[in-house]
Amino acid sequence: MMSTEVALAELRVSLHQVGPIPLAADFRCSPGELLALVGPSGSGKTTLLRAIAGLYRPAQGWVRCAGETWFDATAGICLTAQQRRIGFVFQDYALFPHLSALDNVMSAMGHVPRSERRSRAAGWLYRVRLQGLEGRYPAQLSGGQRQRVAVARALAREPRVLLLDEPFSAVDQVTRRRLQRELALLREEIDIPMLLVTHDLEEASALADRLCVLHGGRTLQSGPPESLFRQPASAEVARLLDKHNVFQGWKVMENGQARLAWGPYRFEVAQGLEDLDNGSEVHWYVPPSDVVLHRRGRPSKGERENPVTGQVCEMIVLGGMTLLTLAFTHTEDTLRFEIATHAARRNGLAQGVEASVSLLAQGIHLMPPRPAERYGSRDVQV
């Protein structure tokens, strides 16, 4: 019963077009869930949000929310932005400059009886901690206060979906942290699907339940932040998620055992190799947390696990942690990992010094070619 209710209230999106802005996006968002659309500039994030809001009409696809079809290109259905009932927080907030904070919020309350609008709008401003500033005009408010008015206005619409387009990009770092914390608290009370567009991965992974990685209007992969960061579906996703340790290898059989070949090295891999044909090429990724430095002069048992040796080509001390980059003779790709600064000192690490590390078999994540097919993005007709 519950799952049916959730399915009814969820937002489901499938939008496709070749141009002028290419789109091949398929995703869903459950009530109460915050889905972050992440990707570089021009990846179609804002266009998707606008299409969901009814401000942009794509060539093909559909948008369904709360059991209603908002857009269906085949059936010729395209509800207006007014009919869709969405809460939209614009990148620069788009507050009406000639209206006070209270009037801005009241402007979104056409569905509320006229006599109740004022008190309910004041209630929304109270919820975003703006009591006492009801009569101020946008020009008299700080960036953070404007953002809160925009959120209050979006929620005052009592929307079926909340759309947030880079809502923290126009404020300073300190305000951003505070607003992010407030959004995290506010979302506990909101039981509708929420979409957050951002290019800030840190922000996305801190706030969102799931991330959806976009590139060129195409949804490449979606999932909880930890799973995406540890197991990107493709080298492209890994790069978009700012992951460095992506390499190319191939499968070999050695003494009857499947191994991942990388230059002269033959790695043991916990899972994924068995699905590949012998000799087939594969991208692989190892998270920095699964790269273990061999202690100088104190060999341990664990060093037998996928050892590699390289030369320290970059060493950046960031307070208590040191970021190390190893270069290898067989490839131009480099391996990056972090260790405690005191450990780096104790092991005599410095630029140009040779260092050995183990790549944990459990951490090696294989990314076979044409990953999009596995995630269905290219299966849909465009």
């Binding site: 000639h98 402007s107 569905h111 946008p138």
Partner: protein, 222 residues
């Protein structure tokens, strides 16, 4: 002071403003907000009276107002009177001449209203009409007042086109500007100077209003 000419000029200016306000609002907003084929051509046509010599524009209007022309003939059949040398004729000419003065300030004013404010209004549930009345017009009204002030002042001072189309019929088509010319021709400098002073004052006040509103508009920009 030719009070009859002043009355004709004021009547012409008021009617021109009243008729151009809705037309300028519709056309100015359409040019500012919507993208359509032939938009540039439309903008060029609106601006044409600014650069055309008034006598040339007046000449073509006079030709098209003639009883033999489609427009003049149609008007004759509908009203029983011609367009040339009538108040209706100079009013129609005044509408054409003042089109850029009415449309361009309104177009600029609507262009200054950021598109995302319109979209925010729609997302807030406001209909396109409510968006126009409650969001766009309160932000664009200085442009509307500027347009009307410029149209009013320009109509009072218009000479060449009115003379070509309307001649100088007392109480019908002789406007203040034409009356000044007539007084100068008749060596009545005192009468000409009084009427010129009135037009100078109107022009000064108009420009003052336009500049004050332009400053206010910049202050409201978002």
């Amino acid at each position: 002071m030719d009070w009859t000419a002043l009355a004709v000029s004021l009547r012409l200016a008021v009617f021109t403003c009243l008729l151009l306000l809705p037309l300028g609002l519709w056309l100015g907003r359409a040019l500012a907000v919507t993208r359509f084929r032939g938009r540039v051509l439309c903008e060029a046509l609106v601006a044409l009276p600014l650069v055309m010599p008034p006598t040339v524009l007046g000449f073509y209007l006079m030709l098209s107002f003639g009883a033999d022309s489609p427009l003049g003939g149609l008007w004759q059949r509908l009203t029983g009177e011609g367009l040339n040398f009538t108040f209706s004729g100079i009013l129609l000419a005044s509408l054409v001449v003042n089109l850029p003065f009415a449309v361009q300030p309104i177009q600029r004013a609507f262009e200054n209203v950021p598109a995302h404010l319109r979209e925010a209004a729609w997302c807030s549930g406001l209909s396109p009409w409510q968006t126009l009345l409650r969001i766009e017009l309160p932000l664009a009204w200085p442009g509307l007042v500027s347009a009307m002030a410029l149209t009013f002042a320009h109509t009072l001072g218009e000479f060449g086109v009115i003379l070509m189309v309307g001649g100088a019929i007392d109480g019908e088509t002789r406007t203040l500007a034409i009356s000044i010319y007539d007084r100068v021709q008749a060596f009545d400098e005192s009468g000409a100077s009084q009427m010129s002073a009135v037009l100078l004052l109107v022009s000064f006040v108009t420009i003052g209003v336009v500049y004050a509103l332009a400053r206010r508009n910049r202050g409201m920009s978002v």
